[in-house]
């Protein structure tokens, strides 16, 4: 066999492997999270105290998907911090103390651990704290997961949109789409890869069919169409994505080839 034929065979093998990688696994292994930018807007020269404060902030955020910038802006009355995701303004902070735990929090740690342990995804149920409203959709999600062959490799977590401890996380989730802050309804976010949150299912949109479609999306072969236009918003989080456990979804699909779909 000529060497060119061997090369073609090897390349074809690699390509065929790449195309059978599932969306959730491919994103975790290959897709770097998009960067946030934290900007300190000020109208006067920076004092030593502010420089030290900002250095401390930079140190705290050094391992996260965020960069820090100082920007001189004449037309402001008071200095402030602003958090941007690409060109979208997510939050403003008038006080440096509000930046505490910006890049990490207990629930984000837990979700990252789940993703790194080979789980397909984490479904985050953002509650309104209106119990009757929250409970109906929650039961439906639990029922759908219980009946799904992938239910065991999906972690369901609940979070109140009024949580003080997770206020930064809640704020980022409610910025995944620009109108979410004004919608006081239960929301279901699919979180996968390196903390990428899909645009959520909301209120009556949380149906068995739609939850199943979310699972289908994440268990599908990662086509070029998906790779080129990945949906979702990356959540700000400390980088800890080295050496994940192999995806558990492959074991289920190997044991049940009938579940395979594209």
């Amino acid at each position: 066999m000529k060497s060119i034929h061997v090369k073609i065979l090897i390349i074809a093998g690699i390509l065929s492997l790449a195309c059978t990688t599932k969306v959730s696994e491919w994103v975790l292994l290959n897709s770097l999270p998009n960067q946030y930018t934290l900007v300190y807007f000020h109208s006067a020269a920076l004092t030593e105290t502010v420089k030290q404060q900002n250095s401390a902030v930079t140190r705290e955020l050094k391992d996260a998907n965020v960069q820090f910038k100082n920007i001189l802006k004449q037309d402001i009355k008071k200095p402030y911090y602003a958090l941007y995701y690409q060109d979208r303004l997510f939050s403003k902070y008038s006080d440096i103390n509000e930046l505490k735990n910006l890049s990490a929090s207990p629930l984000r740690e837990k979700i990252a651990d789940e993703l790194m342990s080979g789980k397909l995804c984490v479904m985050l149920y953002l509650k309104t704290d209106n119990q009757p409203k929250d409970e109906a959709s929650l039961q439906l999600i639990k029922k759908t997961l219980a009946s799904s062959p992938f239910g065991e490799i999906i972690t369901l977590v609940e979070l109140s949109r009024n949580s003080k401890e997770e206020k930064h996380f809640v704020s980022m989730l409610l910025n995944v789409e620009d109108d979410l802050k004004g919608i006081n309804e239960p929301m279901l976010f699919g979180i996968f890869g390196r903390f990428k949150a899909l645009e959520p299912l909301i209120a009556k949109g949380i149906t068995e069919e739609n939850v199943s479609l979310m699972i289908n999306f994440l268990t599908a072969d990662c086509s070029c169409l998906i790779k080129d236009n990945l949906p979702g918003t990356d959540i700000l989080f400390t980088d800890k994505w080295e050496n994940p456990t192999p995806a558990l979804v492959n074991k289920i699909l190997d044991e049940n080839p009938s579940l395979m779909h594209i």
């Binding site: 899909l198 949109g205 739609n210």
Partner: protein, 73 residues
């Protein structure tokens, strides 16, 4: 607690996320190429090109013969 509920029916009023509708409609995978019948114009083109070629050759030869006869006279 009706006052904190705005009327959102995400299945009708608010569009579903694109990733979900694409998955539902099978648009996340490469679509097979649609084969469409096209009108075959190759015969017409061939006739026109041949005709033009013949006319060109006749014209060139005519000019050549006329010039040669003129030079002989």
């Amino acid at each position: 607690m009706e006052q904190d509920t705005i009327i959102i029916d995400s299945l009708t009023s608010r569009p579903l996320p694109k990733w979900l509708t694409d998955q539902r409609d099978g648009l996340n995978t490469l679509q097979p190429v649609k084969i469409e019948m096209k009108e075959d114009k190759s015969l017409n083109i061939s006739l026109i090109v041949t005709g033009a070629f013949i006319l060109l050759v006749v014209a060139v030869l005519t000019i050549y013969v006329l010039r040669r006869n003129k030079n002989k006279k």
